[in-house]
Each structure stands twice: as structure tokens, then as C-alpha cells.
């Protein structure tokens, strides 16, 4: 199997509300695609040329455009972006909030198998077309809708509130200390977002006082113990990544290109209750998530010691909390140590979400996997500018991401390095 290289890509400004701008999905896709091609130094005519010998394909990640914008057949929709994409193989991949990763997975596999030499992976979601309540109901389809979503306002915060409850009881944590740890996670993500010029919340105010006082007028409780400050927000956006085969890298004559070092993909039982009560004996609250990360470490021959940057799926602070041990940064039950002693902060030895993550940077669900992957690329390539992680004057060598769908039902992990 050959290596899969990353040429670069682009994300849209996650602060933007495309509905307010009066713009549709084509405007979103045209922008992100032209920006990505420009960043990766690939032109539409390059695509046309490669397509003559069937060497290029598109992979689209999107959760649920059928509900948000009444549009399906999203692989084919790309032909509206440019006539250069006429005839280019393209299909849509869906795995709820891990849809972007599902598209990446397909693209990586095709290049590894030498079926194509260039893969254009497009993750996107337009969510601000509906009000927050309707949005919550649409997102509920990422859970087991009939049992976990139907008729329940904002079911996902409630499900991740249950994860918080489970974490407290399983590890016998002091509740206040745990909630304060979650507040710290929120503040780190908001703080990191301030360095990211494309982050949704970059101009927002959040401090520890605000995040640790829940159930107030400006920080209402929304799911069990969780409040608004524990949640990622509804976001519009797209991210595109271009992947290339070894032979294309040679053709282009470029060097020092980051590549995919490993991946993991596991599916846990869909119902949250089954995830918790029908799991194998484990110290980990989300054993399938942990296994996915182990798979990626094994495939890459790396361990947590080798990882310089982490991008995790902080759809809620409670999911970032359990990710800390799932990555192996601490033992399960000791996550608080990494939070309290600053290890996961921007300046820490295991920085998490330098981009701001889902809470800070934003979470256009179908785009998130691609956005994370793009951020891994930026970090190891030294292109993250103000949010570039640098340790001992060196750029990061390896970076890992965890992207989940549903309540950590679909688990995807990628390791990118140089």
C-alpha cells in the first residue's frame, strides 16, 4: 500500500451566516473549493487533465442537507461548482457529525489502493437555515431518533449531560471539581479560538467565571449539568482537503509533504444506554472510542508520546473530558490532572484543539472531520499562523484527531505527520 499525502486545503470563515448573507450552498462550495485549490496549488485545468485518465475523484461529507436545505445527491451537486468537475467521480458519505471523516476514509482508501491519484474531500453543512429548536430536532437524527430524540427539545445536550453524569459516577469524581474542569475546557477552547481568524467565536467573550456559573440568564442550563458554555454552537461552513498519491507528488515535484500515518474507525452501539451498559469490561467510559484511537496508534506505529497536537471532538465539554484519557494523555479517571496542570492548554505539552475545537472554532457538522484534518495538516506543515503550536522551536511532527458521530457512536481517528 502506498502513502497518502496531503496537498492542503481551506475552510470557510465559520463566523459567517450564509442565510443572512442570502447565499446558497453553491456559493459556499464555490468559495471553499476555489480557496482550497489555490492553497494546494492545484488548478481546475489540472483536474480536467487528471480526469482524462480517470485519476481524480471527489468525496463529499455532509450529514443532513436534505433537512437543512432540501438538497440531496450531494456528490453530483459539485458539478454545479465548475464544469471542470463534469465527469469526475463524486459521491456523498454520511456518518452524522463524522461525515467528513467518512469521506476522508473513502478518499484515503482509494488513493492507497492506487485507484486515483488526486482526491478532493469536501465537508460541509449549512445549519443556520432553521431556528435552534428545529436544528436540535434535525440533529437528533444522529441518535436513535425514535428512542432518544423524538419529542425531546435539544436531545443532544441531554445525552452528553448523561455522559457527564456517567463520568462523575464511574470515576467517583467530586461533582463541583468535575464541572469546574468542564468550565476550564470551555475557556481553553474559547481562548484558542481567539488566535484563529476563521473561528466562529473569535470575537466572543468567555471567562472561567461565566463558564463555571451555570443556570444563569446568560448561561442557561441545557442538558442535565451542562449549560450553553459547555456546548458547541450551530455553525455554517465548509472545509476542503486535497489528498494525493505518491506518484502525483513526484509528478508535481514537491517535497516535505505531510501524509496520513494511521487511522481508526469503530462503531459503538447506537443507543447511549447500550453504549454504557452493554460495553465490555473497561476502565474507559467510551471503550470503542478508546479502541479506535489504539487502532490508529497501532497502524501508525506511534503512541501518545509521539503526538504533538490533538484535535478532538468537543461537541460538548463532557466529550472532550473523556477524550483526554481515550487519547492516553492520562489514565482513565485522571483526566482532571491534564486540565488542572495545563497540559492540554495551548502552551501545554499535549495541546488540545489549538484551533478552538468545536466549541471555539465551530461545528458545521458535516464539515468538522475535514476541518480537523485540515488543522492537523496546517500544524505539521507549520501553516497555522497565529495558532501554530511550536515546541522547543520545532514544528509539530505528528498530530491526531478524533471525530465522532452521534453519542460517540461512529468513531474516526486520523494521524497526520511529516
Amino acid at each position: 500500500m502506498s502513502k497518502v499525502y496531503i496537498l492542503g486545503g481551506a475552510q470557510t470563515d465559520f463566523e459567517r451566516n450564509w442565510t443572512k448573507e442570502g447565499k446558497n450552498v453553491l456559493a459556499l462550495l464555490k468559495e471553499v473549493m476555489s480557496d482550497a485549490l489555490c492553497q494546494a496549488d492545484v488548478s481546475f485545468s489540472d483536474i480536467e487533465e487528471l480526469n482524462k485518465s480517470n485519476r481524480v475523484a471527489c468525496f463529499v461529507g455532509n450529514f443532513i442537507a436534505e433537512n437543512y436545505i432540501n438538497q440531496g445527491h450531494l456528490g453530483a451537486l459539485l458539478t454545479e461548482v465548475s464544469p471542470s468537475l463534469y465527469g469526475v467521480p463524486s459521491a456523498r458519505y454520511e456518518a452524522a457529525c463524522a461525515s467528513g471523516s467518512a469521506a476522508l476514509d473513502a478518499a484515503i482508501t482509494k488513493i492507497k489502493a492506487k485507484e486515483y491519484d488526486l482526491a478532493i474531500v469536501v465537508g460541509w453543512e449549512l445549519m443556520k437555515t432553521v431556528d435552534s429548536k428545529v436544528c436540535g430536532d434535525i440533529l437528533a437524527k444522529a441518535a436513535c431518533y425514535e428512542k432518544e430524540g423524538q419529542g425531546i427539545p435539544f436531545p443532544f445536550p441531554k445525552l452528553f449531560g448523561k455522559l457527564a453524569d456517567e463520568t462523575i459516577s464511574r470515576y467517583r469524581l467530586d461533582e463541583q471539581r468535575y464541572l469546574n474542569n468542564l468550565a476550564q475546557i470551555s475557556v481553553i477552547n474559547y481562548g484558542n479560538a481567539k488566535r484563529n481568524p476563521l473561528a466562529q467565536t473569535r470575537s466572543w467573550f468567555m471567562d472561567y467565571e461565566q463558564a463555571s456559573h451555570r443556570g444563569t440568564e446568560t448561561n442557561i442550563s441545557i442538558g442535565g449539568k451542562l449549560a450553553i458554555s459547555d456546548c458547541s454552537q450551530v455553525t455554517d461552513g465548509a472545509a476542503v482537503v486535497l489528498l494525493a498519491s505518491e506518484s502525483l507528488i513526484e509528478e508535481f515535484g514537491i517535497e516535505n509533504v505531510p501524509y496520513v500515518k494511521g487511522y481508526g474507525h469503530r462503531t459503538a452501539p447506537m443507543l447511549f444506554e447500550k453504549k454504557i451498559h452493554e460495553q465490555p469490561e473497561s476502565h474507559y467510559i467510551l471503550p470503542w472510542t478508546r479502541q479506535t484511537i489504539l487502532d490508529a496508534y497501532n497502524r501508525s506505529g506511534l503512541s501518545v508520546e509521539d503526538i504533538d497536537v490533538f484535535e478532538t471532538h468537543d461537541c460538548f465539554t463532557s466529550s472532550e473530558y473523556v477524550a483526554i484519557s481515550a487519547f492516553g494523555i492520562t489514565e482513565p479517571g485522571h483526566e482532571f490532572e491534564a486540565i488542572e496542570n495545563g497540559r492540554i492548554g495551548f502552551e501545554g505539552d499535549k495541546p488540545m484543539n489549538p484551533s478552538g475545537g468545536l466549541i471555539g472554532c465551530g461545528h458545521p457538522v458535516g464539515a468538522t472531520g475535514c476541518r480537523m484534518f485540515l488543522d492537523l495538516y496546517k500544524q505539521v506543515r507549520g501553516k497555522a499562523n497565529e495558532y501554530q503550536v511550536i515546541k522547543d522551536n520545532e514544528m509539530p511532527k505528528n498530530a491526531i484527531m478524533l471525530n465522532i458521530g452521534g453519542t460517540a457512536t461512529t468513531n474516526y481517528v486520523f494521524i497526520v505527520g511529516i
Binding site: D13, R16, K20, E21, G22, K23, N24, L26, A27, L28, L29, K30, E31, K194, S203, W204, F205, M206, D207, E209, Q210, H213, T216, E217, T218, N219
Partner: protein, 444 residues
């Protein structure tokens, strides 16, 4: 924490009962994590301000950092504060009186403190002169836009007294940028500074055009020509109605009386504005102005506009200019170049007027940035962060990507503007914008 950053623990905001004062206090209390004394004429107003201020930054956590006070405690507040921010009514006598009081209160304890005014039009230099000479270099203008949480522009104005010792001014600039997350632009002490100079040039010109084209519809006619598709969140005359016609008049007259550039006549207030102001129809805050909304018996809202030609209000006309329709449909699908192409190619009166407005805006912005001692990108910062308008350099990028911009200006603009453009080498010195024009061009 940032090393070598100015330590600001305590701030006093005077005029905290006003919405600007209140919101500025919230910025210091939130991003600055400072204790803020809210000073108003009476303590009740300050308490009211405290109870509202946190909403502007959506965080109750700042509430306990705000301490309501009044002028009887001015001396204590000033003594313990690192920054004393005056945000009172925009009248010389009011402000002068307060700055004299502050100067009295400092005594010998003013070392290192920042004294500032949030004025949008008065002379910063004259205000500085109300302070003892040893403190004058610590005085500056800090002009923010409302609401500051959304509008991050912060114009900072030094004076001649800052020239010898810029240390306090520089520290405050850095603090405003790095800690308060303001888009900081340093400008010379000149009427209306940079943002309002450019913005109100555009808006007043739109008002003048509304008068000139009063038989074509006037106010809503012009607003339909300069709608969101031209790179702004709302049309210019709706903006003016929102700002208040009286405030508009004050800013414009200050400019008209104190500047002398090629755009001098563009700052003349159209007669109908005086008529409306005299009748108290000063805009949204009065419920009536250039526009008004009336509630029909059946609960329907009826949107009316002032008809300049006939001197009464009438229902708004839904103009559908072909050029605007075409531009909007191209913007909707992200075909920006095609939208700009329509703007340039469509030879209707409306399209030509629209294009002329945008070209004039770009040239005037660059000319004023230069005149006020800023680099060209400052013009971008003020218009993006202070008005949410497509910044001039970004618009130049957009237009320049489809046509020869200089040639277009030569064809469309008055000779005096073309002369200024060439004489000042505005285009030669124009860098590529740091802003992306696409997000500013709204498909509406």
C-alpha cells in the same frame, strides 16, 4: 498573560448611563477583567447601567466587577483608577466641565494613568489642554463604535502633547488591541476622525442624491441602489435613520465647517433633513425619521418612507432595478466576478450611480487614510470594524479583478477626484486588502 502589558485593574467610566458608556464599561470588565466604576449624574442611573451592561457582552460574570457610583465620588474613583474614560454627552461644555473635574481630582496622583474621551467629534488636543501640562501626554481620544461588542473598531487619537512621550499612549494601544480585542486604528486629531469621515461622506452623499432624485422616489430609491448587495449590512439611509438625524447633522456640520478637501460640498446637509429634525422626526429613536413603521389595525406592519418631493410619508416602493436583481442573483450563487461585471457593464442611471458611489468611496477612503497619517489598510479597518461595510481595499480587489480600476474611475468620476487619485498616487500605494470582500457582499 501578555508580558510587558499595561496593568489595568481599575477603570472609571463617566457617563456610564448612556448606552455607549455602559457598553464600553462592559468591554473593560469582560475582556479587560477590570473593576469598573460606573459614574453618572445619580447612583440610580448607574445601578440601571450595571443591570444592563452585562447583556451587551452576554456574560453575567462581569456584573460583580461593576460598581455603580456618582459624581460625588469622582475624586475617589479617579484616585484608584488606572483608566478614566469620559463618555458623556457630545457637547464641549459638558465634557470640558468633567475633564476639569478629573484634572482637579488627580492632584499629584496622576502618574501613569490614562485619561481619555470617547468623543466622536470634539478636539482631543483642546481637551488635553484642560489637564496640567505634566499629564497631557497621558490624555488621548479613544473612539469606539456602538455596540462595541459587535463593532470592534477603536480609533485612538494622540495629540501634540503625546509627541514627546508616547509611552502611555503606546501601552494603551497595545492593551486595547491585545487585551480588549479592539481593531485599533491610530488617527490624527481631525474632525470626526477616520471612520466617520468616510462613512458620513458616503451617507450624506446618499442623502444629497435622495434629494436630487426626489422625483424618482428619493430616499427609498437611493437605498435600493445602495443596498446590501453593494457591500453593507444595511442601506445607507436606513443606517442614518438608525444613527439619528440629529446626530448625523452634528457630525456633518462639524465636518462641513472644519474641513477643506475636494469633498467639502458633499458634507452639506440637504434641506429636507433640517425640516425633519425641526419637526422632531429624528429617526428610529423617535419612531419616525427618514422611515417609519406603522402598525395597521389588523396587526400588519406598514413600512413607510418620507417622500421628499411631496413632504409626507408614503408606503415604501419595492424597486426592482435590473442591475440590482442581476447582481443579487449572481451573489446568491457565489459568482462575485459576474456580479461586479454587471455593476460595470449595466448603463442604467441606477447602475451608474451605484458604481460611481462605490468608486468615490474607495478613492475618498484612501485619500483620507493618507491625510490622517494612516496606512491604506487603516481605511479598511475602520470601515469593516466600525460600519460592517465592505472595506475600500477589499472592494478595490473585487472591482480590480474584473476591470482596469483606474480607467473606470477616469471614465466615471469627476475630474477633481481623478486628480486626487493620481496626484496622491492612491492606487499605486494601495496594498491588497487583509479582508475578504465576499463576506461583505450580501445577496439582498
Amino acid at each position: 498573560m501578555h508580558k510587558s502589558m499595561m496593568d489595568i485593574h481599575t477603570v472609571t467610566v463617566l457617563g456610564a448611563n448612556g448606552s455607549m458608556g455602559r457598553n464600553i464599561a462592559a468591554i473593560f470588565a469582560s475582556f479587560g477583567n477590570a473593576k469598573v466604576y460606573l459614574v453618572s449624574r445619580n447612583i440610580e442611573k448607574s445601578i440601571e447601567a450595571k443591570n444592563k451592561a452585562y447583556l451587551s457582552v452576554r456574560a453575567e460574570s462581569i456584573k460583580e466587577k461593576m460598581i455603580p457610583s456618582d459624581y460625588t465620588h469622582l475624586e475617589e474613583c479617579v484616585k484608584i483608577s488606572d483608566v478614566i474614560f469620559e463618555a458623556c454627552a457630545e457637547e464641549w461644555n459638558v465634557k470640558a466641565d468633567i475633564h476639569r473635574k478629573i484634572a482637579d481630582a488627580i492632584g499629584d496622583n496622576g502618574e501613569g494613568k490614562v485619561f481619555c474621551s470617547g468623543t466622536s467629534g470634539l478636539s482631543i488636543t483642546k481637551l488635553a489642554e484642560l489637564y496640567p501640562s505634566n499629564y497631557r501626554h497621558q490624555f488621548m481620544g479613544i473612539h469606539m463604535f456602538n455596540p462595541p461588542y459587535q463593532m470592534t473598531l477603536c480609533e485612538m487619537i494622540p495629540t501634540i502633547y503625546t509627541e514627546n512621550d508616547r509611552s502611555v499612549f503606546e501601552s494603551m494601544k497595545k492593551y486595547a488591541n491585545k487585551i480588549l480585542y479592539r481593531t485599533v486604528v491610530e488617527t490624527l486629531d481631525s474632525p470626526a476622525f477616520l471612520g466617520n469621515r468616510i462613512g458620513f461622506y458616503f451617507i450624506n452623499n446618499a442623502l444629497q442624491m435622495a434629494e436630487r432624485f426626489k422625483y424618482s422616489g428619493g430616499i427609498d430609491y437611493i437605498d435600493s441602489i445602495l443596498g446590501p448587495f453593494t457591500g453593507r449590512s444595511m442601506p445607507p439611509l436606513i443606517t442614518s435613520n438608525f444613527v439619528g438625524l440629529d446626530v448625523h447633522k452634528a457630525i456633518i456640520e462639524n465636518l462641513y465647517n472644519n474641513i477643506n478637501d475636494y469633498a467639502h460640498d458633499d458634507f452639506a446637509l440637504p434641506q429636507f433633513m433640517n425640516v425633519l429634525i425641526d419637526e422632531g422626526k429624528v429617526g428610529k429613536k423617535a419612531g419616525v425619521g427618514l422611515y417609519k413603521t406603522i402598525l395597521h389595525e389588523n396587526g400588519m406592519k406598514i413600512h413607510q418612507v418620507y417622500d421628499i418631493a411631496h413632504g409626507h410619508y408614503r408606503e415604501q416602493i419595492q424597486y426592482a432595478f435590473p442591475f440590482a436583481k442581476d447582481m443579487i442573483s449572481f451573489l446568491k450563487v457565489g459568482d462575485y466576478a459576474k456580479a461586479i461585471y454587471v455593476l460595470i457593464e449595466n448603463q442604467s442611471i441606477e447602475a451608474r450611480l451605484c458604481c460611481e458611489f462605490l468608486l468615490k468611496y474607495i478613492i475618498y477612503s484612501l485619500a483620507k487614510a493618507k491625510e490622517l497619517g494612516c496606512d491604506p489598510s487603516a481605511a479598511d479597518d475602520v470601515m469593516a470594524a466600525g460600519f460592517h461595510w465592505c472595506p475600500p481595499l477589499a472592494l478595490l480587489d473585487a472591482i480590480g479583478s474584473v476591470t482596469d480600476f483606474e480607467k473606470l474611475c477616469e471614465e466615471r468620476l469627476e475630474e477633481k477626484i481623478v486628480f486626487a487619485m493620481k496626484n496622491l498616487s492612491l492606487l499605486k500605494e494601495a496594498p491588497k486588502s487583509h479582508y475578504d470582500y465576499r463576506r461583505f457582499m450580501i445577496a439582498k
